[in-house]
Structures are given as structure tokens and as C-alpha cells.
């Protein structure tokens, strides 16, 4: 079955420290991978995506993510966390299902950056 996993419900980091939010997936074919961020009572904001090419992709607000095909992972990273990065982060994976394209979402990881 196709799936996306965000193994950590919550991640806590100190401001200024590097952060990682993990995402692994299991889909057939070549996936398209996305990260979104959601602030309280807001819609989702796109951060970055991997379609093809360089495995390291850079996105908004200083975030980056590395596509690792052998480990089927797409972890979100930032070298130096800010308190304002505290939010809910979702990983999503698009794959081909016959003639349709399906998008499946991870359950989200709540990131708390402490001053």
C-alpha cells in the first residue's frame, strides 16, 4: 500500500540549533515529494518540492530537504532554527495510480522551537 510516514509527532529544538523533520515514503514508481507548513488557524504554505534532478532542494524561509532514494526519505532541514519556525509540518507524496495522480499526506509533525 502507498504510504507516507512522519515518525515524530513532535520535535523540540532550541533556537539557533539545526532542526530535522523526518519523512519516509512507500510508493510505486517515481514520487514527487512536497513539504508544507501550517501555522495555527491558517492554510498550508508550500515550502519546497522534489521532482527530479539534484537530491538537495532548497525552499522558502531557509529550509531545505534531501531526497534519498535508497532510504525512501525526504527529511526537512534547517541549519539554524528560529522561534517563528514553530508550526505544524506536513510531508506529501504524489504518485501515479493508473491514469490518476494521487497525493497522500503524512500525519504532520509539530515543531516547537524554544527561545
Amino acid at each position: 500500500a502507498q504510504s507516507v510516514a512522519q515518525p515524530e509527532d513532535q520535535v523540540n529544538v532550541a533556537e539557533g540549533n539545526p532542526l530535522t523533520v523526518k519523512c519516509t515514503y512507500s510508493v510505486s514508481g517515481n514520487p514527487y515529494l512536497f513539504w508544507y507548513v501550517q501555522y495555527p488557524n491558517r492554510g498550508l504554505q508550500f515550502l519546497l518540492k522534489y521532482i527530479t534532478g539534484d537530491n538537495l532542494v532548497k525552499g522558502s524561509y531557509g529550509f531545505e530537504a534531501e531526497f534519498n532514494k535508497s532510504q525512501t526519505s525526504f527529511h526537512l532541514k534547517k541549519p539554524s532554527a528560529l522561534v517563528s519556525d514553530s508550526a505544524l509540518y506536513f510531508c506529501a507524496v504524489r504518485y501515479n495510480a493508473g491514469n490518476n495522480r494521487k497525493l497522500i499526506w503524512g500525519l504532520g509533525t509539530s515543531l516547537a522551537v524554544n527561545p
Binding site: Y32, G43, L44, F46, L88, R94, R101, W105, G106
Partner: protein, 113 residues
């Protein structure tokens, strides 16, 4: 500038009373989506339009309907809201239902009393 606009931001409706949520976009995107999101959970796709073609998810209840009168607007109609329908409803658009990312509105938080 807002590109996907949802109105209202907060909606309170009575149990069983029909309610309509609206979404408009200035991006001229072909695809429009409606998601339901319950407290800190992942968004759940209800349906989407590819141009005028309507695509319903298999597990979307019949209580939920949608209309897309033109490229810019899309509506979510809940015919008889139940307490379990209280949620954040998110509208999103994308230029193609494939490689491109989706752009989300701010959401409408629906309360059923």
C-alpha cells in the same frame, strides 16, 4: 497579495442547516481542491476539479457537494451539517494535477451547533 481566498474565515451553522463555503483564486489555475482538516490532522481530500471535470473521492459523504461555475470560483456545499462535520475546510489550487505544488487558502473553520 492573497491568491486563494476563502470566505468566510469562520462559519457557525446549525445542525442540519445547509451551509456553503466559498473559494476564489486569482492564479487562473486549472485544478481546484477541497480538503477537510480536523484538529491537527492531515488534510483529507474531499474532491477536486480539473477544469470543469469533477472528481469525487470514494469516501466523501454524499452530504458534501461542490460547484465550480467558472475558473475562479469554487463552492463547497454541506447539505445537512452534522456535529462531525466541524472542521477546517481548505481550498487549494494548482496549475496541473501533477508536478506542481498546491496553493492553499487560509481556510474556513466550520462550527456546527
Amino acid at each position: 497579495d492573497a491568491m486563494v481566498i476563502q470566505n468566510p474565515r469562520y462559519q457557525v451553522t446549525q445542525f442540519g442547516k445547509p451551509v456553503t463555503l466559498s473559494c476564489s483564486q486569482t492564479l487562473n489555475h486549472n485544478v481546484m481542491y477541497w480538503y477537510q482538516q480536523k484538529s491537527s490532522q492531515a488534510p483529507k481530500l474531499l474532491f477536486h476539479y480539473y477544469d470543469k471535470d469533477f472528481n469525487n473521492e470514494a469516501d466523501t459523504p454524499d452530504n458534501f457537494q461542490s460547484r465550480r461555475p467558472n475558473t475562479s470560483f469554487c463552492f463547497l456545499d454541506i447539505r445537512s451539517p452534522g456535529l462531525g462535520d466541524a472542521a477546517m475546510y481548505l481550498c487549494a489550487t494548482s496549475s496541473r494535477a501533477g508536478q506542481t505544488e498546491a496553493f492553499f487558502g487560509q481556510g474556513t473553520r466550520l462550527t456546527v451547533v
